[in-house]
C-alpha cells in the first residue's frame, strides 16, 4: 500500500507545533515515533492533509528529575526501559515499557505515542471507528468498543501520573486517569489543536514495588490481549498503599478503584490476592478479537492480578 500524499510540517519548538495544530486542526496528524501512524495511513485509516513531525522538538526528549519526575513525550520506549533511575524508583513503568512490541519498534516508539495509542487495524474491513456502520465485536450496537491496547498507561495510572497538554491557548495539566473516555472511537480527551507534551510522575509514587504482567501469544511483537499493573508499598509486612490497573480489556486502561482499600493494612496472602483478582476480572469487559476468547482473557486478568499482587507483596 502506498502512503497517501500529505504535507510534512517539521516544527522545532512546542509553540511552533501547536500553532500548526491550530491552523490545520482536524486535518493533521502528529508523528512522534511513527510506528502506528505510518501503517495506519497506509491502510487509509487516516488521510490527513498535514503530518506534524514533532521529532525535532528537543525539549520533549528525556527524563528529568526534580521535585517530581518529568518525562518528555518524545522519550523513546527503549530509553524508558533502560533508564537506571526509572528501574530503581518506578520499576513498573520500565517493565511495562520493556514489553511493548519488539526492540526495533521500541527504539522508534515514544511514551507519548503509547499513551495516545490508536489500536485499530483495517485488516478485516471498516467498522464504526472508520467509515463503516458495523461493529465486528458487538453487532447491532452503535457504540464503538475498540479496545485500548497500550502497555505503559496502566503502569502510569498506578503511579498517579499527570500529563501536560499544550495548545495555542497555553499549557494544561491533568491526571492521566481523566484522559481516557472509555468510548472506542473518541477514546481520549484531547482536542484537535492539542499536543501531549510531558508526563509527570509524583515523588510520592517513587519506590513502590511494581509489577506488570502482559498476556500475549508470542513472546514479542504482540499487543497485550490483557495487561495488569500493580504497585505496592509495605510497612511491617503489611500493605501500606497499593494501586492496580488493567489494560487491553476495555476501551480505556482502568484503575481498579476498590483495590487499594482491599489491600491496605493487610498482609497479602493467596486468598487476598485471589479476591483482588476477582475484583479486577469483574471490571474487565474483554470483547472478541482474532485471538483468545473474551472469557479466557477476563480469566487471565484474574490470574495475572493474583500473581502480580503476590509478587509485588513478597519480592
Amino acid at each position: 500500500m502506498s502512503l497517501p500524499e500529505f504535507r510534512l510540517l517539521r516544527p522545532s519548538t512546542v509553540e511552533e507545533a501547536v500553532r500548526y495544530l491550530s491552523q490545520h486542526a482536524g486535518n493533521i496528524r502528529v508523528l512522534a515515533g511513527g510506528t502506528d501512524l505510518i501503517p495506519s495511513m497506509r491502510q487509509r485509516l487516516f488521510e490527513p492533509e498535514y503530518v506534524l513531525d514533532i521529532r525535532h522538538i528537543g525539549e520533549l526528549k528525556g527524563i528529568r528529575q526534580g521535585a517530581e519526575v518529568e518525562i518528555g513525550a518524545l522519550t523513546s520506549l527503549t530509553v524508558i526501559e533502560h533508564s537506571e533511575f526509572l528501574r530503581r524508583h518506578y520499576p513498573v513503568l520500565a517493565e511495562a515499557a520493556s514489553t511493548v512490541a519488539s526492540p526495533l519498534l521500541r527504539n522508534m516508539g515514544t511514551i507519548g505515542g503509547n499513551i495516545c495509542l490508536v489500536t485499530w487495524r483495517k485488516g478485516c474491513g471498516f467498522c464504526i471507528k472508520k467509515d463503516g456502520d458495523l461493529c465486528h465485536v458487538a453487532p447491532g450496537g452503535s457504540k464503538c468498543w475498540a479496545v485500548f491496547s497500550g502497555d505503559t498507561p496502566p503502569a502510569l495510572l498506578c503511579l498517579d501520573a499527570h500529563i501536560e497538554i499544550a495548545s495555542s491557548a497555553g499549557l494544561r495539566r491533568i491526571p492521566l486517569r481523566e484522559f481516557y473516555t472509555g468510548i472506542g472511537d473518541s477514546y481520549r480527551r484531547l482536542e484537535a489543536n492539542e499536543l501531549v507534551t510531558r508526563i509527570f510522575l509524583p515523588a510520592a509514587s517513587a519506590d513502590y514495588r511494581g509489577i506488570y504482567r502482559k498476556l500475549r501469544i508470542r513472546g514479542s511483537i504482540d499487543y497485550p490481549l490483557a495487561g495488569v499493573a500493580v504497585v505496592l508499598k509495605r510497612s511491617n509486612g503489611h500493605v501500606k498503599d497499593a494501586r492496580l490497573a488493567i489494560t487491553a480489556v476495555n476501551p480505556a486502561p482502568m484503575l481498579i478503584k476498590a483495590a487499594p482499600q482491599m489491600l491496605e493494612g493487610k498482609a497479602v496472602d493467596t486468598n487476598l490476592a485471589e479476591a483482588v483478582g476477582d475484583l479486577a476480572a469483574k471490571t474487565a469487559k474483554p470483547l472478541t478479537t482474532s485471538a483468545l476468547t473474551p472469557e479466557y482473557r477476563r480469566e487471565m486478568i484474574r490470574v495475572f492480578t493474583k500473581r502480580a499482587v503476590l509478587a509485588a507483596a513478597n519480592n
Partner: protein
C-alpha cells in the same frame, strides 16, 4: 564419507552473499523502462454474481494506462489437470472475500490504488458456505455448478480387511481431531513482472517474459500459455531469488497471470506485488481438517488396522486439493507396518480462499491425529510410547498394503537417537510438576513418483556445459527457493567431476535456457534434479575420462577425478612420478592453452613431454574438447515404474522413489493457571538418506520444527462470515525468536539405493512430528489430551479445567451483553447470526468434563 571431497561437507549456500548483503535481486527489486504498477480489485463478498463492471471512471483517471477484467482472458486454469476451475480475473462469479475482479495498470502505485476505488462493480450476493460439514449438505447455490454438494472430490479406499481386524482387536481407540487452518507466511510476498516484446512482423505484442516469485517456472509457463492463448515457446519464465515458498508458490497464483494480461493490454511492462493482506487471500495453505480416527491394536501394541475419515475445508477452488486429500490417506502407510487401512477423504469447497500445498502437504494434520492416538493407546496398554512405535516398524525393503515401496528406512535409528539424546528412559514422567516429554514420528516423500501432469516425460533434466576455460556451467530448471537447490546442484556436479565448487556455475529456473524441471515442491529437488545432475555430470565425465585416458595411457575406467585433477587409479597426485610440480604444470599448460592449441601442437606437446601421470582439470577438459568437439552432457530423471504405486483410483498420489523418516522428542512445561505451553527443547532426528550438505540439512530440520511449533501453539486463521480476521503478520502469529525452543538436529543417514549419493528429502518430513510430539509432551506434563490445534492457552486451560472438574472455560459463548448469541466456532470462525453449526458429538470443544482426561 572420506570418499567424498565436496559431498557431506558443511558448505555455505552458493547464493548466500547476495541474500545477506542485500545485493541479491528478488522480483520486486526489478524494474524495466516504462514499467507500470498493477493493483488488483478484490471481491468484498464471499459468494456473489458479478452483474456489471463499469471501469469508465477509473479509466478517466490520469496515469491509468489499462484496466483488465475477466473477459480479457476468459480461459480457465488450475494447477491440476482435473481442477481447471479458476479464472485469473472472475468471469461471472466471485467465490471468496479477496477473489480477483479487475486489475488497473497505472504509472504509480498510488494512482493504481486510487483507480481501484473508481471501479463500480454491481454484485448479486449469493448464500455462502463457510463450514465444510455444512457445505457438504448444500443443494443450491453451489460454489461450482459441477461440484455436487460442494464436494470437490471424495475417495474411499479399503486395503486389507479392516472390519475383521477391528473385530479381532484387543483395543480400539477412537477420536475426532481438528487441525485448524494455517498458511505459509513466507517472508517475500508474491511478486510478478511481465513484459511483452513487440513482434517485428506484426507490430503486436509477441514474446512474453515473466519474472516471478515461483517454485514452479515450468508450470507457470504452461498456465500462461493456456490462459493467454499463446504457444509455450513464446513465453519465457525467469525465477529471480525467492524469499521462501513453503508450497505457497508451488502453483500459479492469480497475480502471475494477471500481470501478463495487464501488460498485454497496456502494451508496457507491468509489475504486481501483493500486499501482505493479498498474500493471505492468495493463501493456498494447509486446510482446516476434521479427522475421525480409529486405530485397532493387539495387547502387545501391534497396530492391526486404521480407519480414518478426513474432511478438508478446501476453500473456493480446487488448487492442489485432490492431491492433498489423497496424501492424507496414502501416507497413513509407509511409516509403520499397518496391515489394514480404510480411508474416506472428502475435499470440500467453501467460500474462503483456496487451500493448497503447504510444507508436509496433506500429511501433517493426519499425522498429528495418528501420533496423538498412538500415544493414547500406549498409555492405555501401559507401554512406553517409544516402544510402541518400535513394535510397529516396517521391515524394508517392502511394499505397503496401499502400494508404497519402501527401501531405505532410518526410522529405527531416528527413534533410538532421540530416545538416547533426550535421556527419555531416565527423564520421561520424571520431570516434575507440569513438565513433560513427548515423542512422535513422521515421514515424507522425496518427490512424487507420478507427476501431476500425466505424462511420461522426465521429471527433471539437467544440461552441463564445460568449456576450455575449465568452467562448469550447470543448466537446471530446479528452483532455488531458499532450500539450497542451487548449492546442492553445484555440489553434485563438483563431486562427480572431481572439481572445486568455485568452478561450477549454476544457471537455474529460466525456461529459455534451462531444460524442463517440474519445480520445487513435494521435496523432490535433491532426489530428482540431483539425480539428473549426477547423470549429466557423469556423461561429461565419461568424455573427459576417455580423452584423459589416452593422454595418461590407461583405460578410461581407471581415470580418477579429484580436487581439480585427473589421474590414474592407484596414483595419487602426491606420489605422482611426474617430473613437473603440479602447480607449474597447470600454469605452463594453461598459459599455452587458452583456446588456441590445435590438435597437432597438442600431439607435439605430448610427444615432448611423454606420458603424463596426471592432468589438471583444465588440461583434461581441453584434451576432451580437442578429441570430442563440444563438451556437454545431459541427464534426466524419471522415477522407476516399480516405485509408482498401485492401480486403485487415486493410487498415483503417495508413491515416491524414497521416503524420509523423522522422530522427535519435545520437552515442554505447562502453566496450569494460564494454560500457556512453553517448549524448552526439541530433539529432532531425520533420516535424509545422506546429508549432502549437513549444515543445510540441519537448517531444514530446525526450520521444520519451528514451523511445526507455530502450528502446534500459535498459528490459526480466524474467519468471520468468510472474512479473514487476521490477515497480517501482527495478528497471524508465527512464533518470534523469544519463544523458539532449542532444537537439536540429529542427522541419520540410511543411504538410499536410488538417491543421488544416497540422499533423500529433508525439508518437509520433520514438520509433522513436531505437533504431536508437543501434544504428547503436554499429556506427559499435565495429563490432558488436546485434540484440536493450535494448543492455545485457552484450549489448554479449558482442558485442564475439564480434567479437574473445575469451573469450565467456555470457548464458544460470548460474554458481551450486547451480543449474547455471539458464537466463536472452533477453528476460529466467528458466527454472528444464530449459534453456528451443530457440533459433532466427538468435537474436541464439546467433550464433557468426565471424559476429557479420561482416555486412559
Amino acid at each position: 564419507m572420506s570418499d567424498f571431497s565436496i559431498i557431506g561437507k558443511r558448505t555455505a549456500m552458493v547464493d548466500a552473499a547476495g541474500k545477506t548483503t542485500g545485493a541479491g535481486k528478488y522480483t520486486d527489486d526489478l524494474t524495466l523502462p516504462g514499467m507500470l504498477i498493477g493493483k488488483i480489485l478484490h471481491s468484498p463478498f464471499p459468494h456473489a454474481r458479478i452483474k456489471r463492471i463499469d471501469s469508465s471512471r477509473a479509466r478517466a483517471l490520469e496515469g491509468v494506462v489499462a484496466i483488465v477484467t475477466g473477459k480479457d482472458a476468459p480461459n480457465p486454469y488450475g494447477i491440476l489437470p482435473v481442477g481447471h476451475d479458476e479464472h485469473a480475473l472472475a468471469l461471472d462469479k466471485v467465490r471468496y472475500v479477496g477473489d480477483n475482479v479487475a486489475c488497473v495498470a497505472a504509472i504509480s502505485e498510488a494512482i493504481a490504488e486510487n483507480a481501484l476505488e473508481l471501479i463500480d462493480v454491481e454484485y448479486e450476493v449469493l448464500p455462502a458456505y463457510f463450514d465444510p460439514e455444512e457445505s457438504m449438505k448444500a443443494e443450491t447455490d453451489l460454489i461450482h455448478e459441477n461440484k455436487l454438494h460442494n464436494i470437490e472430490k471424495d475417495y474411499h479406499h479399503v486395503f486389507g480387511d479392516p472390519e475383521k481386524a477391528f473385530g479381532e482387536a484387543d483395543y480400539v481407540a477412537e477420536g475426532r481431531f481438528i487441525a485448524n487452518e494455517v498458511t505459509h507466511a513466507a517472508m517475500e510476498p508474491h511478486s510478478t513482472l511481465a513484459a511483452f516484446e513487440i513482434d517485428s512482423h506484426t507490430g503486436k505484442p509477441g514474446r512474453l517474459t515473466v519474472w516471478s516469485s515461483t517454485q514452479v517456472p515450468y508450470y507457470l509457463q504452461h498456465k500462461l500459455s493456456l490462459v493467454l492463448d499463446m504457444p509455450m515457446a513464446q513465453i519465457r519464465v525467469i525465477k529471480p531469488l525467492v524469499g521462501g515458498g513453503f508450497g505457497g508458490k508451488s502453483e500459479v497464483i492469480p497475480l502471475e497471470i494477471i500481470a501478463a494480461i495487464a501488460a498485454r493490454a497496456a502494451k508496457a511492462p507491468v509489475k504486481i506485488t501483493y500486499t501482505r493482506e493479498e498474500v493471505f487471500w492468495a493463501h493456498r495453505g494447509r486446510p482446516r481438517s476434521i479427522i475421525d480416527l480409529k486405530t485397532a491394536v493387539k495387547k502387545d501394541g501391534a497396530i492391526t488396522a486404521v480407519k480414518a475419515r478426513v474432511v478438508q475445508d478446501g476453500g473456493a477452488y480446487c488448487s492442489y486439493g485432490v492431491v492433498t486429500i489423497l496424501y492424507s490417506g496414502a501416507l497413513l502407510g509407509a511409516l509403520y507396518d499397518i496391515p489394514n487401512i480404510q480411508y474416506d477423504g472428502y475435499r470440500v469447497l467453501t467460500n474462503k480462499p483456496a487451500c493448497g500445498a503447504m510444507r508436509g502437504h496433506g500429511t501433517v494434520n493426519v499425522r498429528f491425529a495418528f501420533e496423538s492416538q498412538l500415544d493414547e493407546i500406549a498409555a492405555r496398554l501401559n507401554l512406553d510410547p517409544a516402544e510402541i512405535r518400535r513394535r510397529n516398524l516396517l521391515k524394508p525393503p517392502c511394499v505397503t498394503i496401499n502400494g508404497l515401496r519402501v527401501q531405505s528406512y532410518g526410522l529405527p535409528e531416528c527413534i533410538q537417537q532421540v530416545v538416547e539424546r533426550s535421556r527419555w528412559k531416565q527423564r520421561k514422567g520424571q520431570l516434575g510438576k507440569a513438565s513433560g516429554l513427548g515423542i512422535a514420528c513422521s515421514h515424507y516423500v522425496s518427490g512424487a513418483a507420478n507427476s501431476i501432469i500425466r505424462s511420461d516425460m522426465p521429471h527433471s533434466t539437467v544440461n552441463i556445459k564445460i568449456d576450455r576455460d575449465g568452467g562448469v556451467v550447470v543448466y537446471t530448471g530446479a528452483s532455488e527457493i531458499g532450500q539450497g537447490s542451487d548449492t546442492m546442484t553445484a555440489q553434485i556436479a563438483a563431486e562427480t567431476l572431481g572439481c572445486s565448487l568455485g568452478r561450477v556455475k549454476v544457471v537455474a529456473a529460466d525456461t529459455d535456457l534451462t531444460p524442463i524441471d517440474i519445480g520445487s515442491y513435494s521435496s523432490r529437488v535433491t532426489f530428482m534434479a540431483g539425480n539428473a545432475t549426477l547423470r549429466a555430470a557423469e556423461q561429461v565425465k565419461k568424455q573427459i575420462a576417455s580423452a584423459a585416458a589416452r593422454k595418461m595411457n590407461c583405460a578410461p575406467e581407471d581415470v580418477v577425478f579429484r580436487e581439480d585433477k585427473v589421474f590414474r587409479k592407484g596414483d595419487t597426485q602426491g606420489q605422482s612420478p611426474t617430473p613437473l610440480e603440479p602447480t607449474q604444470a597447470a600454469v605452463s599448460v594453461s598459459g599455452r592453452v587458452e583456446g588456441q592449441i590445435l590438435r597437432g601442437s597438442l600431439q607435439q606437446k605430448r610427444k615432448e613431454e611423454g606420458q603424463k601421470y596426471f592432468l589438471t582439470f583444465e588440461e583434461a577438459v581441453v584434451a576432451a574438447i580437442d578429441f570430442h568437439g563440444a563438451l556437454t552432457g545431459t541427464g534426466s530423471y524419471a522415477p522407476p515404474p516399480e516405485a509408482r504405486g498401485g492401480k486403485h483410483k487415486g493410487a498415483g498420489v503417495g508413491p515416491s522413489p524414497a521416503y524420509s523418516y523423522s522422530a522427535q522428542v519435545a520437552e515442554v512445561s505447562v502453566d496450569e493457571d494460564t494454560g500457556e505451553v512453553t517448549v524448552h527443547k526439541v530433539w529432532a532426528a531425520h533420516d535424509c538418506g545422506r546429508a549432502l550438505n549437513p549444515v543445510s540439512v540441519e537448517g531444514q530440520i530446525i526450520g521444520s520444527v519451528w514451523m511445526g511449533m507455530g502450528q502446534a501453539l500459535e498459528e490459526e486463521m480466524v474467519w468471520k462470515d468468510g472474512m479473514l480476521m487476521n490477515p497480517g503478520l501482527l495478528e497471524y502469529r508465527s512464533p518470534s525468536s523469544t519463544e523458539s525452543p532449542e532444537v537439536e538436529p540429529i542427522i541419520v543417514e540410511s543411504v538410499d539405493p536410488e538417491g543421488p549419493f544416497g540422499a533423500k528429502e529433508c525439508s518437509e518430513g520433520s514438520l509433522a512430528a513436531t505437533i504431536p510430539a508437543i501434544a504428547n509432551a503436554i499429556y506427559d506434563a499435565v495429563g490432558i489430551r488436546l485434540h484440536e490445534s493450535p494448543f492455545t492457552p485457552e484450549r489448554v486451560l479449558a482442558a485442564l479445567r475439564a480434567r479437574k472438574g473445575a469451573k469450565p472455560i467456555n470457548l464458544t459463548e460470548g460474554v458481551d451483553p450486547t451480543a449474547p448469541r455471539r458464537f466463536r466456532e472452533h477453528g476460529g470462525a466467528l458466527w454472528f447470526r444464530g449459534k453456528g453449526p451443530e457440533r459433532h458429538p466427538l468435537d474436541p470443544a464439546r467433550r464433557e468434563a468426565a471424559d476429557a482426561g479420561g482416555d486412559d
